[in-house]
Assembly symmetry: C2
Homo-oligomer: 324 residues x 2
């Protein structure tokens, strides 16, 4: 099959690779749409030791099952594989399972390819009125849904349902959409890139600012750098909550003195539970998360150029979908 | 009256000062017992810009009301004065009131003195079977009670009720006692000082370790230094909770990468709500927080020596109570 292979720092090759041979309990999915994630970019820049070259990246895939009893079924892939018998999974927190795996990280190759094998329980059926490009958004939407759910649950009952989202990429936009779907009345997205900001305003009906300045009881850091954590811990109101997605930089930024004196809660969040993934799909499929049309589509064969364009800040849309 | 006055870095003078003149809505309390807190030590070392010399420190006081309609009533003092009409106070979070004041911080002098004025609503009546030395522990116990309450509430329902408390001073011990009172089944206190550790084991029936190594779903950082936060974020189990009390150092220590990948929650905590203070007193008075006999008593006139002894690590008991 053809695949986009990460071969070294800032190097991607579209080339022939061996077809995957799914294990007995796996289905084979022919990928129709697969999104580029910030963590793919992170790996591409050589910043993720968990993803050594050569490797097929990509974990936001949707397509059709090929062969077997579910042949022809349209599905979107939950790429997080956990051990259903672990204590974490049994408590409904598959994302904390110590043996968790994710496609695009060894030993599992990713979805920037024509085919990916996956367990049946990780496949969510996609109704006909939802396109594969939309269905491929399930994974990043689930990341943000999970984070929004934890943040809303931690918010004090007396605080206004008001959120600041730092970062207007797919995760930030998805967090804003999830928060609105969960009843958050006011959501502002802070995004420095003017073209992206304009896209979010005009195309996604989002309220945006170039630089966050107004405090909010719930702050979503959808960037994960020291500078964004500094901003988050300065702008969370007393008794407020920061939810932190992403691994831009490992350390620094939090104003722990203020977080202590003003009782700010910081919640690290990673991926989603299996239930979050299903709930996100349900919300996407019934329209609660909007039109899901904020993607730009390119052939997988031009994946390398897409990475370069994202890195250079030349892509107004929050998400590029590659088509194998 | 006589008072112990902080006059400059590492300087305390026991001397005559003007008697306080309570405002119409205040009672005058003749202090019988007043504890030395870590934050008094912090100020004494010149590390707290909120407490400039000259100042009477001390905010853990108990004694008798002198004069007025409640003359002779035995009380313990909630030293945190907030505006009852603020949004924070109306939501039951007086500790987050933007105009909060605390005795021992300007404009309010502290309780290392013969008398302190205080609003009636901040005074909790002490029953006769509780000594003033015990009653003076209400304030630090309330700090820890509040923190334990927030930590237990944030703990995932599937996680074992098991806690690591970093620091075996009064706040750490009180947190351990509060956690046990709240149903935490296993509590281990990490404390490097061998004399203190022995005191906690033999006198307070606490399980202690010199250096924490065993992970726990709930970690109380009752020290608040970069090194203790580093330990806390290394030892909280996936999905676990860190509650952070104290302001030893403002920055550093948290392993944000791990907290994100393993979904660790960090909760900054400061003082207590008015309800927490009352709940703590009720738990103390009915015996749920143990014998409350882990104090050493000294005359207020020898306060300077007590500070020096604590600083030198020469005090096995977690709390020194001064007697004006």
């Amino acid at each position: 099959m053809k695949a986009l292979v990460y071969t070294g720092v800032e190097e991607l090759e579209f080339r022939d690779v061996a077809d995957p041979t799914p294990a007995d309990d796996h289905h084979l999915i022919r990928i129709d749409s697969v999104g580029i994630c910030g963590s793919d970019m992170h790996a591409y820049l050589g910043h993720d030791e968990r993803r050594p070259a050569p490797l097929i990246l990509g974990h936001e895939g949707a397509g059709k099952i090929v062969g077997g009893p579910r042949d022809g079924e349209r599905v979107t892939i939950n790429p997080l594989v956990s051990d259903p018998t672990s204590a974490a999974s049994l408590s409904g927190r598959e994302n904390l399972c110590p043996s968790r795996q994710i496609i695009s990280m060894p030993p599992r190759e990713g979805a920037f390819a024509q085919y990916v094998p996956m367990l049946g329980r990780n496949l969510v059926t996609v109704p006909d009125h939802v396109s594969f490009d939309q269905a491929a958004l399930a994974e990043p939407m689930a990341v943000s849904w999970h984070s929004a759910r934890l943040g809303m649950a931690a918010l004090h009952e007396a605080d206004p349902r008001k959120a600041l989202v730092i970062g207007g990429g797919a995760i930030g936009l998805a967090a804003a959409l999830a928060l609105k779907a969960m009843g958050c009345e006011e959501v502002i997205v802070a995004e420095p890139n003017a073209a992206r900001r304009s896209y979010l305003e005009l195309h996604c009906d989002m309220e945006t600012v170039a630089a966050a300045a107004e405090p909010a009881p719930l702050v979503v850091d959808a960037v994960g750098y020291a500078a964004t954590r500094k901003l988050a811990s300065a702008l969370a109101t007393p008794g407020g909550v920061i939810v932190h997605i992403g691994l831009g930089e490992d350390d620094g930024g939090l104003d722990i003195r203020r977080m202590t004196l003003q009782e700010i809660t910081f919640i690290g969040t990673y991926t989603y539970t299996a239930q979050d993934f299903r709930d996100t799909c349900a919300a996407m499929f019934d329209g609660r998360l909007g039109a899901l049309d904020w993607t730009e589509t390119r052939p997988l064969s031009e994946g390398a150029a897409a990475f370069a364009d994202i890195r250079a800040g030349r892509v107004p849309a929050p998400k590029i979908i590659l088509k194998p």
